[in-house]
């Protein structure tokens, strides 16, 4: 079996990994390819493709509105899979799909996983899929397809579940920086740093990427001191919202983040 691209890039680079989220179908329906190629060119390590959802419980206003717009533009899962299949002729960047479990349920779990592997998706993030339900449902399919899957931990996650997340995650653990929905713009506080240090000291087997509230050079650099890298979402959506040209705006945004 081919090694998984997400596992591979994290193993190779180890540090300062940059994972960028965008909502598929936003700003325009067919921007998916342009956005991913621009991110790849700008030197991003992983891309998280958001499957727009009507009721994204874990997301703040920025991602909510981009999803609403994307759905209005006509984005659907079948279309997104087609766009990715076509993109894969020009791109080998590690790609994850991020969305809500209901979307997978309606597509059909087995059909969804099969389509992911057909079009070249490397991993999944489904924030509302609990560990128990994963173990009794999707897990054998994900493993057989050699997909990565990132589960979340937060400052409130008890130690016992951190170890379960460590055991079940493939690729990386998604470390939520604070008790919040996506899109906060404050700096990282003392208590967040203490939480990062605490997790660091656990010597988990799975690498970690820190997300939620990472929006500029300073927060990205801080996150990278405590984990293998970080995830940026809402800040990039805000950039796209105002972009005259996606490629230039992406280049500027990423060089503003990188060390």
């Amino acid at each position: 079996m081919q090694p998984n691209r997400i596992v591979q890039v994290i193993q190779q680079k180890q540090r300062n990994l940059l994972n960028v989220y965008f909502t598929a179908g936003y700003p325009a329906l067919n921007d998916t390819e342009t956005i991913i190629l621009s991110l790849e060119k700008a030197g991003v390590d992983l891309v998280e493709v958001g499957m727009p959802y009507s009721d994204p419980l874990a997301d703040g206003p920025t991602i909510q509105q981009s999803g609403q717009q994307a759905i209005q533009n006509g984005m659907t899962l079948p279309l997104l899979f087609e766009q990715i299949q076509s993109l894969r002729r020009h791109s080998s960047i590690p790609l994850m799909l991020m969305g809500y479990y209901n979307q997978v349920m309606q597509y059909g779990e087995a059909a969804f996983i099969k389509r992911c592997t057909q079009v070249g998706i490397d991993g999944l993030i489904l924030p509302d899929l609990p560990l128990d339900e994963y173990e009794t449902g999707l897990k054998p399919l994900v493993e057989a397809a050699n997909l990565a899957i990132a589960f979340l931990i937060t400052p409130q996650t008890p130690l016992e579940r951190i170890h379960r997340v460590d055991a079940l995650s493939q690729g990386f653990i998604y470390m939520v920086s604070s008790a919040s929905i996506t899109g906060t713009q404050a700096g990282l506080s003392e208590s967040q740093l203490a939480y990062f240090e605490k997790i660091n000291a656990l010597n988990l087997k799975t690498p970690r990427l820190i997300g939620f509230g990472i929006h500029n050079r300073e927060t990205f650099a801080t996150a990278c001191q405590y984990a293998q890298g970080a995830i940026v979402g809402s800040a990039y959506i805000r950039t796209l919202e105002q972009a005259a040209d996606i490629e230039t705006a992406t280049q500027d945004f990423i060089s503003g983040l990188r060390l």
Binding site: A58, Q68, N102, Q103, T157
Partner: protein, 402 residues
């Protein structure tokens, strides 16, 4: 014992009624939901809790609520029709049974701040009321559309000291208010308790809320025995938004198959009009607000915006208990349009001198759809009173009131 026994209808450890239920919440909510799940049963079982809960239900809410034999309605429909008068509770609906229970739980979990969602505003008022009573901070999320159509309840919440925050996403109704409340809980995981207003949401909410509302059927059993000589009616009728008043009216009859359970949903402008909230007909299996249940959605899994004239029934899902009862045939679902509900509200008012809530009016409209035998004992759960809906009713006076 090799003989197959009928499975009792009850929730399992993981929060499932049959295939419906569970707790599909992001990790950010997991600790809160687990804290509640691990403690609610022992808190409810505690004699101190029970003493306070029962005292407040009696002296503050005014329970037991009467079971009233509706003579003129009975004559009209040719059956023995009883009304369970939840409209006579303090604050005017069944919702307060649940908020009293949950605020006592919140206190015992050491929470300082309460959040809630509301559609018709009845749950918002009932939450703001118990927060005033217990001196707790209260934030109520309400769809911007509902803030307009249920203005009297918005004013009541404000007077009670609650902050009413408009939900401006989606169709700006109950679903969206619930999303915002959940996001608030994610942002405030330690000091806040979320008082959900119906038998929806992640486990343990559906079961916990059903248990607080179960007082309705507990009293019905005693009152029916007194008034009819049997504690079981033939049919229980209740409207279903999320399904809390129905769950309470059914609860002690769930495992009595001879008692027919009728769930009345809002058909809005007609089931297939594109403006409806008839979830059991239009819904398919999926996840909404943390629970696997029936919901209205597109083939791509996007939740469809519902519609009903009644803010409390304007919801694209139903609680997992009801999804189970309806899909197994234990309960039957009936859909009632806006116009049928308005007509039934005027009819009840003129027959019995009771102005029902618009939600409740849907349950009364079902009386026109069902067929009865003269000796059938029917209980309609009169979930709330119609003060909040006067503007809507008066707006339709020409068509239904003359």
């Amino acid at each position: 014992m090799t003989e197959q026994i009928l499975q009792p209808i009850q929730v399992n450890k993981k929060g499932y009624y049959g295939e419906f239920g569970g707790a599909f919440v992001p990790e950010m909510l997991q600790p809160n939901v687990e804290e509640l799940r691990d403690h609610y049963e022992s808190i409810i079982a505690d004699p101190g809790f029970q003493a306070t809960f029962q005292r407040l239900l009696k002296d503050y809410v005014g329970r037991p609520s009467p079971l009233y034999f509706a003579e003129r309605l009975s004559r009209h429909y040719g059956a023995q029709i009883y009304l369970k008068r939840e409209d006579l509770n303090h604050t005017g609906a069944h919702k307060i049974n649940n908020t009293i229970g949950q605020i006592l739980i919140a206190q015992r979990l050491g929470k300082k701040r309460i959040i809630a969602e509301t559609g018709a505003g009845q749950h918002g008022v009932a939450t703001a009321t118990v927060c005033a009573l217990m001196n707790m901070e209260c934030v109520v999320y309400m769809g911007a559309v509902d803030i307009k159509r249920q203005a009297p309840n918005v004013a009541r919440m404000k007077m009670l000291g609650a902050e009413v925050r408009p939900a401006t996403s989606g169709s700006q109704t109950l679903k969206d208010a619930t999303n915002e409340a959940i996001r608030d809980w994610i942002n405030n995981p330690e000091n806040t308790h979320y008082i959900i207003g119906s038998v929806v949401g992640p486990h343990p909410y559906p079961e916990m809320v059903a248990r607080f509302q179960a007082v309705i059927s507990e009293e019905m059993k005693v009152q029916l025995l007194e008034q009819t000589g049997s504690s079981n009616p033939n049919i229980i009728i209740a409207c279903v938004g999320g399904g809390s008043n129905a769950a309470g009216a059914y609860y002690h009859y769930l495992n009595e198959p001879a008692v027919r359970l009728v769930a009345v949903e809002a058909a809005g402008q007609g089931i297939h009009s594109g403006h409806s909230a008839a979830t059991s007909v239009l819904g398919t299996k999926g996840i909404i607000h943390g629970s696997r249940t029936l919901l209205m959605q597109t083939p791509d899994g996007q939740i469809v915006e519902p519609y009903s004239i009644s803010a409390g029934l304007d919801y694209p899902g139903i609680g997992p208990l009801h999804a189970h009862l309806i899909s197994t045939g234990r309960a039957e679902a009936i859909s009632i349009t806006d116009d049928e509900a308005l007509k039934a509200a005027y009819f009840l008012t003129r027959q019995e001198g009771i102005i029902p809530a618009l939600e409740t009016a849907h349950a009364f409209a079902a009386l026109d759809v069902l067929a009865f035998q003269p000796n059938d004992v029917i209980v309609v759960n009169l979930s709330g009173r119609g003060d909040k809906d006067l503007e809507t009713y008066i707006g339709h006076f020409e068509r239904f009131g003359t």
